[in-house]
Point group: C2
């Protein structure tokens, strides 16, 4: 089996030596971060298995899909409408972007003053370490931040890239632009796949993606319970895996996990003591294996109960209305749903401020941690308004800026412990 | 006179003590950078006078304009259509954004990893140091970079701010968005001023702004001569002053300077030896008093002959077609002209790459210096493509990243000297 994997990776153009080094780094981190937790839901075994074979089975599935003549589309952002990709018989995968390992590779080309997520993703391609990007036929970028927007131009030298324009304001003009972009994207995907996107197929795909959203919403809803039945780390992992796992399987697995988690709630069974401080994290996305902040918080006595991030609520909040309408009507519904993602790329973005306060109440949190990747201008600046808003709402806030290195772990731990002390119930 | 100024500044809410400290810093810098130059065009006296009274006469004019019931509109970017502001009887001024002095003030609120231009401009408002921003009724921002886009939200707490959405791509959809933004901006300005923008007034304003563009184009054209009749520092200053001086006076003064400069060319009179290395600077804008790079280059034996920046060719290249059309038709012309500004906010932005190569040839340069402000993601990333393009064209390139401090002057000087040595004729 291992031998088969190595052959597949070699066929995909993977730099095997570098890839070995990378894969060997993961198990001890996963052991320390995940497997050391107590009283985890049994169903997390599935997700442990997925991470344990992170570049194996799923890559093989995508490759078989490609060998059957279908297409694999890759993306880095929750604005890329998966419904359209699925409706053309293609598969959308979220790409690797969370590891320090590939950052130095990217710094040979990209400015060092770029956020770790962008450098990591670019380095994975440049260093030929990620079999997902190697398997994909098209990378779909977007314009949600300057760093990614300009990185995609450079990435285009190494792999076909198509960029969707996400607008900056939330006006009728911006909505018209975005709807046009969604329609253009449909054409791009139809051309890539050679498949026509019919109303029926689009409606089916919409239902499927909505079902995954509903499953993740169900999981998050369970985290409102006290004691909390699943750790923040585990919930984060589930969302992270959703970005690249098969959609139908993901729905099934998340719902099976929810069954267990809900029975835990009924039994009053939690993973943390009932008096653990409940924390909402908000800010920049956390791609696999960026578990640093969750790990620090949850080993310092807190329970992360919600993430208002693109690897959290922004990924699955708001469903696309399911209708029997024409393709045109459905695309309007899709465009509108995605525009409700309150990304810091928008100006103003007051809806995110309201979301944070609302979620803080719904999840009954004791404090909020605003997390932004270093050099992420949009979230770093928006933190100023988040700070004002939470001060007005009387909700304690800790602001953390970090990257993917381990160097600041001690400092963050000290600040987190002081914060948790301060918000002691 | 001085007493009158102090009273005016106090009336404008200026922090007089801080302002004194700031104004006292300028004369020695100006002496060293500008007045120490040899054989300057005599007509630079006017611009010396303007800088010598930088917060005096012009502020008084704007204030009188405001006291007569008209409006002052402030901006930080060449995308804000001045024609529309002037057609409503208002005045547009470019705001102070080039001084290190106000940077630490901004860092109390904005992320430190923000470019110096943004921090400087925000600090000027926060510290109440800039009489231009204090005189203005509305600041018009735009979405050309993440840092400014999000800073404007915070700035809105201190002064009325309106933000124009500049698109990210150069497609028909983006053009429709921008045209809509230009039309909305007309309504905003009409509401602010209470004046209707008629076709006649808009045509007049367009002619006026074009005349300034033509005057600056004439000045830049003179810099193609060898020996070069005016220093890069002086030419940069002329452009910088154009951002806030009265438009008609600016046209007159720049043309008078051009008369002198052109007679110099006829007489073979230059400010640098004929064998001075000719340099094109490209990249981030340079606001007053950010003269560092020009000063280093020109005291190291080079002649800066052109700036492909927003304080250079991007400011005045391309005229708005002058026509007798309706307001609607004229707004389309205006929108299209501004969309030709090849700002690094666009993706892709290949037209800028062509511009650089074209200008390098037109100005017969020996080398290009790519300058970007630290943390300016758009220009820093685009430098990768500039580097590739210039390598293909066989044009030497030096990449400089800097901020507004003096700390890196020695290091930049060393690199500049090595570069000039390398490209010796």
């Amino acid at each position: 089996m291992k031998t088969d994997d190595r052959k597949m990776w070699a066929d995909l153009g993977i730099d095997l030596q570098r890839h070995d080094t990378f894969l060997n780094l993961l198990p001890p981190v996963y052991q320390e971060t995940y497997l050391s937790q107590n009283n985890r839901p049994e169903h997390m075994e599935f997700f442990d298995f997925v991470v344990g074979d992170i570049h194996g089975i799923r890559v093989r599935e995508l490759r078989e899909h490609a060998q059957n003549g279908s297409k694999v589309v890759a993306a880095y952002c929750v604005f890329v409408p998966e419904e359209i990709v699925l409706a053309a018989g293609a598969i959308l995968v979220g790409l690797c972007a969370g590891a320090q390992f590939s950052v130095p590779l990217a710094e040979d080309i990209l400015p060092r003053n770029t956020c770790a997520l962008i450098k990591s993703s670019f380095g994975f391609k440049l260093g030929r370490i990620c079999p997902y990007v190697q398997t994909s036929h098209l990378i779909v970028g977007e314009t949600t931040c300057d760093g990614k927007k300009k990185m995609f131009e450079i990435l285009g030298k190494y792999q076909p890239v198509y960029v969707m324009e996400v607008p900056n304001k939330k006006t009728q003009l911006s909505r018209a632009l975005w709807l046009g972009e969604v329609k253009s994207f449909k054409q791009v995907i139809e051309k890539l796949t050679g498949d026509e996107i019919t109303a029926d197929r689009l409606a089916q795909a919409t239902k499927l993606v909505n079902d995954r959203r509903r499953a993740l919403q169900r999981l998050y809803s369970a985290r409102k319970a006290a004691p909390v039945p699943i750790s923040g780390k585990d919930a984060l992992l589930v969302t992270q895996v959703a970005f690249y796992d098969d959609v139908a399987r993901c729905i099934q697995q998340v719902n099976a996990l929810c069954d267990e988690v809900e029975s835990r709630i009924a039994g009053g069974d939690g993973v943390f003591p009932a008096n653990a401080r409940r924390i909402l994290i908000t800010g920049s996305p956390m791609a696999i294996p960026n578990w640093k902040l969750h790990h620090i918080l949850e080993t310092a006595g807190a329970a992360v109960v919600c993430e208002e991030t693109c690897t959290g609520t922004r990924y699955f909040d708001n469903l696309v209305p399911e209708c029997e309408g024409t393709v045109e009507e459905q695309l309007e519904n899709i465009a509108d749903r995605y525009l409700k993602i309150n990304c810091a790329c928008f100006t103003p973005n007051d809806e995110r401020l309201s979301d944070i306060v609302r979620l803080a109440k719904e999840y009954n949190v004791d404090g909020v941690v605003h997390y932004n990747l270093q050099f992420c201008h949009t979230y770093a600046n928006e933190a100023v308004k988040v700070e004002e808003t939470l001060a007005e709402a009387g909700i304690p806030l800790l602001r953390i800026e970090s990257d993917y290195s381990n160097e600041d772990e001690g400092q963050i731990r000290t600040r987190v412990e002081a914060f948790l002390e301060m918000i002691r119930r």
